[in-house]
Symmetry: C2
Subunit: 67 residues, 2 copies
């Protein structure tokens, strides 16, 4: 199975946000994630880095109030 | 192996752009793709849809001369 774990970059470290993600679809400024069980999550973030062989997808929050 | 094939959406159909992609990194308006052999490609595009279990990543060209 080739699902990936999605991490959310938070400063210097990365927090696991969702495991076993199959589908990623951008919608506007955010991303819809669907895992292999059909659970859906939506968050305001963009993809920062993906390494599929490592099953790792790193997201970065989209902050509307940019500095 | 969990690499994916990357397709570029062109109107109604999708053209295979790169096979066996491991790494995807956004850089500015474009994406850097690296396959499992280390070959790198860069193109002006954004991710439209990803289904990891199907090993399919669909990209859409970024047109700077937007209407």
């Amino acid at each position: 199975m080739c699902e990936a774990n999605v991490y959310l970059k938070n400063g210097d470290h990365e927090e696991l946000f969702m495991e076993s993600v199959d589908i990623i679809e951008p919608h506007g400024e955010g991303l819809k994630l669907v895992d292999i069980f059909g659970t859906q999550k939506f968050l305001m973030a963009k993809i920062k880095d993906m390494t599929l062989l490592n099953h790792r997808i790193i997201l970065e929050s989209v902050d509307n109030s940019s500095n």
